[in-house]
Amino acid sequence: MACISPDGKPTESGSKMLRALKAGLGAPEEIAKETSLPLFRVRSGLRELAEAGLAKPKGDGYEISEQGAKLLK
């Protein structure tokens, strides 16, 4: 997992994506621009965050889940 460590916590890139989601960004292209991560990493990272329950699909993109928002507090 590139965005989630084996202990279940987001990695540095995972945290960047979660913060972008919390700020209201949802499209992978927007998040890639905001985080300066390559688009392919953002697309796969968002998928991982969603599989871990930290994000959920919304339209063509994603939004932060309650669990994801709690983790950032």
């Binding site: 392919f40 990493r41 697309r43 796969s44 990272g45 991982e48």
Partner: protein
């Protein structure tokens, strides 16, 4: 013999959709579709911790900024584990100060290697040969290069092919032998006699009606 036959049964071709995959890499689990919208160079190497491959990875890392300027991503592959890839990348960085910035597929089950025809049993039944697949933003295969195990790839040629393909797509032209950015390009040949006659009056540099060049 049957196994060898099965392993070489699929060879993708230029102009075909790139075979889809989901693979474990040094940057997490990646799908081909994650690269949609970018050019992608998918390349295989025989094995980690081998001399020619190490020189290639250093060379690919060195051209990575130039590739990024052209909207191109890199994705390596070999039949090795993620742990081996990570250890090798760290060793390369420690010994040469070159950080490998792109992901590498750990294709232990050979799923991607077989889908792309990367294993050539005449060279090795277990290792991938040195393949380069240039895939466009629509995920169509645009170029395929194969090199033997003993010959390292030429990065200038890979960059030149990217420049040529992008020039072709942007301007609807072809590029002649040994073309470099800035050189004259080849105007597509005419389809009718009338177009052939008109072609000669259009101020192109023509050897004859079927071979005309122009500056971009």
């Amino acid at each position: 013999m049957e196994e060898v036959k099965e392993q070489t049964s699929h060879m993708p071709h230029i102009g075909e959709p790139a075979p889809a995959f989901e693979a474990v890499t040094t940057h997490g689990k990646l799908k081909l579709e994650d690269f949609k919208g970018s050019w992608l160079i998918l390349f295989s190497h025989p094995a980690d911790f081998t001399p020619v491959c190490t020189t290639e990875f250093i060379a690919f890392s060195e051209i990575y900024p130039e590739l990024q300027k052209r909207g191109v991503e890199l994705l390596g592959l070999s039949v090795d584990s993620v742990s081996s890839h990570i250890a090798w990348a760290r060793n390369v960085e420690e010994k040469t100060k070159v950080k490998i910035p792109f992901p590498i597929i750990a294709d232990l089950n050979k799923e991607v290697s077989l889908a792309y025809g990367m294993i050539h049993p005449g060279q090795s039944k277990t290792e991938t040969v040195r393949c380069v697949f240039i895939i466009d933003p629509n995920q169509t295969i645009r170029t395929i290069l194969y090199y033997p195990l003993t010959t390292g790839r030429n990065m200038d040629e890979i960059l030149r092919i990217i420049d040529a393909l992008q020039t072709t797509d942007k301007n609807g032209v072809a590029t002649p032998a040994n073309w470099r950015p800035g050189d004259k390009v080849v105007v597509p040949p005419p389809n009718t006699q009338e177009m052939a006659e008109e072609r000669l009056k259009q101020g192109y540099e023509c050897i004859d009606w079927y071979l005309c060049k122009k500056k971009l």
